[in-house]
Amino acid sequence: MKKIDAIIRHYKLEEVKDALTRAGIVGMTVTEVRGFGRQKGHKETYRGTEYTVDFLPKIKIEVVVADEDLEKAIQTIIDTARTGETGDGKIFVFDVAEAVRIRTGEKGTSAL
């Protein structure tokens, strides 16, 4: 099993979720994060004091998939989360040593 961490744009979440679901991947965990990278931040001004905000709101999706679904999942995310502008985000993949479903105690891919 592999875990995919995808950092995407805020407003792409619904689209990515729908696409993944259609691709048969029906579990994921989502976190609201702030990202810093090449995408330029913005300036905010409060009573004349300027702040450069480098951390931009992003969404992190964590999906654990069976090895054979990995490519499909990655491609689906790329296809739907892409706008072509800097700041579209990243996908990181990690090995999963074990997965357990709390309700049943099932292990491995059947826990997904």
Partner: protein, 470 residues
């Protein structure tokens, strides 16, 4: 950016210039024999013959004016602010606060005069620009104040100023989350001048062709506190805005739930409280008519809560907090024109009808026609105002008006007057709004760019964020 700023400032200057010119022209022809105390006899159903200041009335009208200001902010700012997405909360609040600034100054400089000056049935004049002839003069402890009934005209003027603030602010609900701030400013100045002032003149100035207490009025319509002037004018213009600006990006695909319904609740409650100033203040006196308006207003709001919630409960399984709040506002809108013509028990009926009618408009109607009236400015104010104006013609009773009466007591003609008033307001609002928007679309542009809309108006228009909890 700087281009549109300049356009915007230019527009303002232009408008400021207009009445100044009028003023000069006017000054020339003015003779000292015109005593300032004779101007602008305001609508006061029960004002005694002698125009003597009554401190009880002044006390109530100052309070009422403060309450009506509170309706725009924090009232409407919270009610609307809670309904948008987090990234646009400040843009809504900014619209409210900025309109409080801009419209107030415009009203003092020329708006009041355009609405209440002169004796033409269709349009005001420049007699009172820069509050000429409106303000009290003080001499060694004595004051000579131009009076409107038992209150100084300046109190009447400031009470009406609060209406000139909230009416445009209501429209903001329609184009929330996508309109350019600079364009909004110019739009509102023009709309206030060319749409609001004439309608207010028709209905509420002594010489207006729709004015209830004008004997020469072609169609004297009942509009106690602004069903036509405030709610229909703003609601219908809101619909036009929604149509001409187009839908928000992602409308119908992405979820766009209200980001903070607790604000909406607080806002609705403050609107309810403030509406006592709006409606009972429209009696311009702390008398029995104000008392009747107060009670009727409250019961219509209460009935609106019940009918919208119960409609939801039956048709959508659950009564929602947002539904209850929306119902209150619907009831309040509906009773606005009627608060001086119906008794409180009839007000319950109006509230019940308004709750269901606006529920239908905000759900079924909007979905059917597919326009994106972001915060239902048309669904609540346009529909609620129209229902109220018409039902006023149905329910108006001699026992409350002391004279005029409606269909149920046998006077179908009053309903005709109401229909004409509604129609006239709708026509001017539609045409005025279309013309202004088309001009602005061609010059300044109406909407923010796609990228700005996605980042949210708070950041893109104002460079701020609402909540920084990190």
């Amino acid at each position: 950016m700087s281009l549109s700023v300049k356009t915007c400032l230019l527009g303002v200057c232009f408008l400021l210039a207009l009445p100044s010119v009028g003023l000069l022209a006017d000054e020339a022809s003015q003779t000292p024999s015109e005593a300032p105390a004779t101007v602008a006899a305001a609508p006061a159903a029960e004002s005694p013959p002698a125009d003597k200041l009554d401190k009880g009335d002044v006390a109530w009208m100052l309070t009422a004016s403060a309450l009506v200001l509170m309706m725009t902010a924090p009232g409407l700012a919270l009610f609307y602010g809670g309904l948008v997405r987090k990234k646009n909360i400040l843009s809504v609040m900014m619209q409210c606060i900025f309109l409080m600034g801009m419209m107030s100054v415009a009203w003092a400089l020329w708006g009041y005069s355009l609405a209440f000056g002169g004796s033409n049935p269709y349009v005001g004049n420049f007699d009172h620009v820069f509050l000429e002839g409106v303000l009290p003069q003080f001499q060694s402890g004595e004051s000579v104040a131009p009076m409107s009934g038992t209150i100084p005209t300046s109190v009447f003027m400031v009470f009406q100023m609060m209406f000139f603030i909230i009416t445009p602010a209501l429209i903001c609900g329609a184009f929330a989350e996508r309109m350019k701030f600079s364009t909004m400013c110019v739009f509102m100045l023009l709309w206030g001048t060319f749409v609001y002032c004439p309608i207010a003149h028709w209905v509420w100035s002594d010489s207006g062709w729709l004015c209830e207490w004008n004997d020469q009025a072609a169609f004297p319509a009942l509009d106690f506190a602004g069903g036509t002037v405030v709610h229909i004018s703003s609601g219908v213009s809101a619909l036009i805005c929604a149509l001409l600006l187009g839908k928000r990006l992602g409308y119908g695909q992405e979820p766009m739930p209200p980001h903070n319904l607790t604000y909406t609740c607080v806002g609705a409650a403050l609107l309810w409280v403030g509406w006592f100033g709006f409606n009972a203040g429209s009696a311009l006196s702390a008398n029995a008519a104000a008392a009747n308006a107060f009670v009727a207003t409250h019961l219509a709001a209460a009935a609106g809560v019940l009918s919208w919630s119960v409609a939801e409960w039956i048709l959508r399984e659950k009564p929602t907090m947002l539904g209850a709040c929306s119902g209150a506002v619907a009831g309040l809108v509906c009773i606005t024109p009627a608060a001086g013509s119906v008794n409180p028990i009839q007000a319950i009926i109006l509230g019940l009808v308004a709750g269901v009618a606006c529920f239908y408009a905000c759900t079924t109607l909007k979905t059917r026609f597919g326009y994106d009236d972001s915060l239902d400015a048309f669904g609540v104010h346009g529909i609620g105002g129209t229902v109220g104006a018409l039902l006023t013609g149905v329910f108006a009773t001699k026992a409350v008006t002391g004279g005029t009466y409606g269909l149920l007591e046998g006077n179908g003609g009053q309903l005709v007057n109401q229909v004409v008033a509604v129609g006239a307001a709708v026509v001017l609002a539609v045409i005025g709004t279309i013309v202004i928007l088309k001009v602005l679309d061609a010059t300044m542009g109406l909407r923010v760019t796609e990228d700005e809309e996605i980042r949210g108006l708070d950041l893109s228009q104002h460079g701020e964020e609402g909540y920084i909890f990190l």
